[in-house]
């Protein structure tokens, strides 16, 4: 082949490639185009705002198709081709119900909440951490996920929970938290020792009627929505929407909530922590004085 022939071939090939891509670029600006990658007008306009990054739903659409569609499905309803083999089931985005939020129960999450969930993944589920995607890509995905439910177009996210300064970790705080664990009947699902073996554990279902297990504190696993004390505080103050875990924001005061956090940490025997160390020392000296948690301890566990 002569150089001239090659040049002709290259030019023709380049023209075809460029025309194909140019056609697609042009089509992107027309929502009624038959191109299946085109979205609805809401897809074209939905955005997300995360730490100064603006996510674009149109950019997220291709990413959704590449990374998410297998589980969450082409309709965003959690019925992807892999859903039947996955436990727990993938999130149904059309319901706009999200477990990990910083906003009150029943309200829409912040963009940041969705971004954090994508970044963190969900331990003990099939949802991995998508941190390998760059921040812009994750922001684009957030924008696209919001297009699955009309709620995001009609409602604003809830006011994020204000988390006060953590109270000191003391044995009194832990003991009070233990009382609350009994009083608020956390043990009915999570079990007296946090082993997820409470009397109600086997009967729990999520909002879709699928069986769901309470969190087992004793394994020392990360929490689904984070791993710090602030994350734990947020989890039971906002609740995990779509699951049986309610919000306790209207039930306990912030200081009480921190006491409960400190006690819950003592249940994480598989994860060495300051609260556990303090509690084990106390139990060694006063264990016999503690009332067991459970149905026989009505009126207080201490």
């Amino acid at each position: 082949m002569t150089l001239k022939k090659f040049a002709v071939t290259f030019a023709l090939g380049s023209a075809v490639l460029l025309s194909a891509s140019a056609t697609r670029s042009t089509a992107q600006s027309h929502v009624n185009s038959p191109d299946p990658l085109l979205g609805t007008p809401s897809v074209a306009t939905e955005t997300s705002q995360i730490n100064g990054i603006t996510g674009h739903a149109e950019g997220g659409k291709m990413l959704y198709r590449r990374f998410c569609i297998g589980c969450h499905g082409p309709d965003g309803n959690g019925q992807g081709m892999n859903a039947q083999w996955i436990d727990p089931q993938p999130r149904d985005f059309t319901e706009a119900t999200f477990k990990c939020r910083s906003t009150p129960t029943g309200t829409l999450p912040l963009d940041q909440d969705l971004y954090d969930a994508i970044t963190r993944g969900f331990v003990d589920t099939n949802m991995p951490s998508w941190r390998p995607l760059n921040p812009q890509q994750r922001a684009d995905l957030v924008a696209f996920i919001k297009t699955w439910s009309p709620r995001f177009a009609k409602e604003k996210p809830g006011t994020p929970l204000t988390i006060p300064q953590e109270t000191p970790i003391t044995i009194e705080s832990i003991l009070h938290g233990r009382e609350l664990y009994q009083k608020l009947e956390c043990w009915k699902c999570h079990g007296p020792e946090g082993h997820a073996d409470g009397p109600s554990a086997a009967t729990l279902t999520d909002s879709k009627g699928n069986p769901i297990k309470p969190f087992n504190f004793s394994t020392g696993e990360r929490f689904m929505c984070g791993q710090t004390n602030r994350d734990l505080y947020r989890i039971f103050m906002t609740g995990l929407d779509g699951s049986p875990m309610p919000s306790f924001a209207d039930v306990i005061q912030p200081n009480d909530a921190w006491d409960l956090v400190h006690f819950l940490r003592t249940l994480q025997v598989g994860l060495p922590n300051q609260e556990l160390t303090l509690w084990q020392s106390y139990k060694a000296a006063h264990g016999k004085d503690l009332k067991p948690i459970g149905p026989d301890s009505a009126g207080g566990a201490q």
Partner: protein, 498 residues
């Protein structure tokens, strides 16, 4: 079906991209018609890697880890760097349903046409009296990969890859165990066994399959030195040894240091993975690789351009120039002489366009430019011998119409810097130079979390001066050492992976 994914959401739906596929086919047909297609023969296609066993394990589509399988995207790179773990507490083998099948098959039935000109063959005047083009065409099979990979325990991963050529002659393409995240740090991982070098642009994971397009010429180039290759090193070949590697949490920063036997990945103290190879020496090679990725911001109001990665590598090796012998038969390679390859590479994104440039420089000791014998003492350098050098590289482009359709193109150029002998190739400084062009299109109608199928169209053409192209077919004997030899491939394959 969703309005947002009216047709394309279903990977089985073949309608939506038909017009693009037709355009690309038209492009290939034009290319075929315009180019000078005259002759051909057949060789096995390149080995490549994609592991649906992982997709089955984690319930993710191929596209989660691959830009277009088998090429990894950054999510797949992080998964691989983490020792085939997603780090979501479902990595352990005990998570798997007993029916989980941890093995992947890959093979590609194909039709292809191979051509090489400037060839010698028998003619009316007797043996080897005719010259011209040799062409072969027909249906064929690629080699086969039988992959098993995964975790033996948390942070202990493995790969076992028996691989065959199309005639079912098997060897171990890869076999290693990897200790991941030592001391809880992603910066400390140790791999032990036979593996691909930590190439930023992987030849084992690239998208070309044809004879001429199916290799990076520069990954296998050695300066012409006579009748046979003098230094058998190929940067794209799997090597055997131990590798220390590390990466940041998102694998944006990566490094590796490999300590390898100087035997081209050979086994049984020989220089190959199949029986009958010459014995290896006792020296060692080192490969160093580093890369850094960053996010390129886009224009105001738009998402960013994507991830950009740049990196550098250096391979310092030795090869024997003589052998300890018994009755004239070589036992162990001795009198090792050094060589090195250094280079830079990139993986750059501009939205749906991916560009992969690479530049490499190679330098051999003058003794490695002498046709190897089996002398028991180091040979004397003949007059005119000098250190062989070369330089060159390629630019490969992928355009992703979507995760299921990708158009490919590559241009590659290698120039000999200094000939092994001042008089080789009649003293022409261009002796051995290679120019290669490849175009292709891959369409993935099936991209489930269970299996993958890709239709692969390619046209590739390689020009070598005074030498048989590395990838070339024909009879292996060039008619004129001063003329350019062209070798071309037209290829269609159905690449499937289960």
């Amino acid at each position: 079906m969703s309005k947002k994914f009216r047709e394309g959401a279903n990977p089985m739906n073949m309608n939506w991209s038909r017009w693009k596929t037709m355009l690309t086919c038209a492009f290939l047909l034009i290319a075929i018609a315009v180019c000078d297609v005259r002759t051909a023969s057949a060789l096995p296609s390149g080995k490549m890697i994609a592991i649906p066993a992982f997709a089955r394990k984690y319930g993710l589509p191929c596209s989660a880890c691959h830009t277009a399988w088998p090429e990894l995207n950054n999510f797949g790179q992080v998964f691989r760097d983490n020792g085939y773990q997603l780090m979501n507490d479902r990595d352990s083998p005990i998570w798997q349903n007993p029916s989980y099948f941890p093995i992947s098959f890959r093979i590609t039935p194909s039709w292809h046409r191979e051509t090489a000109n400037n060839q010698v063959f028998d003619g009316a005047g007797g043996p080897a009296t005719a010259t011209g083009a040799v062409t072969q065409a027909g249906f064929d099979l690629s080699g086969m990969d039988l992959w098993s990979a995964g975790t033996l325990y948390k942070n202990i991963s493995f790969v076992l890859l028996p691989s065959s050529d199309p005639t079912a002659v098997w060897h171990f393409e890869s076999a290693f165990i990897r200790f991941d995240n030592l001391h809880g740090s992603s910066w400390l991982n140790i791999k032990f066994g036979r593996f691909e070098l930590d190439n930023l642009i992987s030849e084992k994971r690239f998208l070309f399959l044809s004879n001429n397009g199916g290799i990076y010429q520069i990954y296998h180039f050695d300066n012409p030195c006579g009748a046979a290759p003098c230094n058998n090193f190929g940067y794209g070949d799997n090597q055997i040894g131990v590798e220390l590697a590390g990466h940041s949490a998102n694998s944006y920063t990566r490094y590796s240091v490999s300590f390898l036997s100087s035997n081209e990945g050979g086994v049984n103290f020989t220089t190959d993975v199949v029986p009958g190879a010459p014995p290896a020496g006792r020296s060692y090679d080192v490969n160093l690789a580093f890369s850094q990725a960053f996010n390129a911001p886009g224009p105001p109001g738009e998402s960013g351009f994507g991830q950009e990665r740049v990196g550098a590598f250096a391979y310092i090796g030795h090869r024997p120039t003589a052998y300890q012998t018994l009755d004239g038969s070589p036992l162990v390679g001795i009198d090792n002489k050094p060589f090195y390859r250094i280079g830079v590479a990139g993986d750059l994104s501009y939205k749906n366009l991916e560009l992969m440039p690479l530049f490499m420089y190679g330098h051999d000791n003058p003794y490695l430019g002498i046709t190897p014998g089996i002398a028991s003492t180091q040979p004397t350098l003949p007059p005119g011998a000098q250190a062989p050098t070369f330089y060159g590289g390629f630019l490969e482009a992928h355009y992703y119409f979507n995760p299921q359709n990708v158009a490919l193109a590559r241009f590659e150029q290698i120039s000999v810097g200094q000939q092994a002998f001042s008089n080789i190739g009649n003293g022409s400084s261009s002796n051995g130079n290679i120019t290669a062009y490849s175009f292709g299109y891959r369409w993935y109608p099936i991209m489930f979390s269970r299996a993958g199928v890709a239709l692969d169209w390619e046209y590739s053409r390689v020009r070598t001066i005074g030498q048989e192209p590395l990838s070339g077919d024909g009879d292996g004997v060039i008619a004129s050492p001063f003329a350019a030899t062209w070798s071309s491939s037209i290829y269609f394959g159905i690449d499937f992976d289960f």
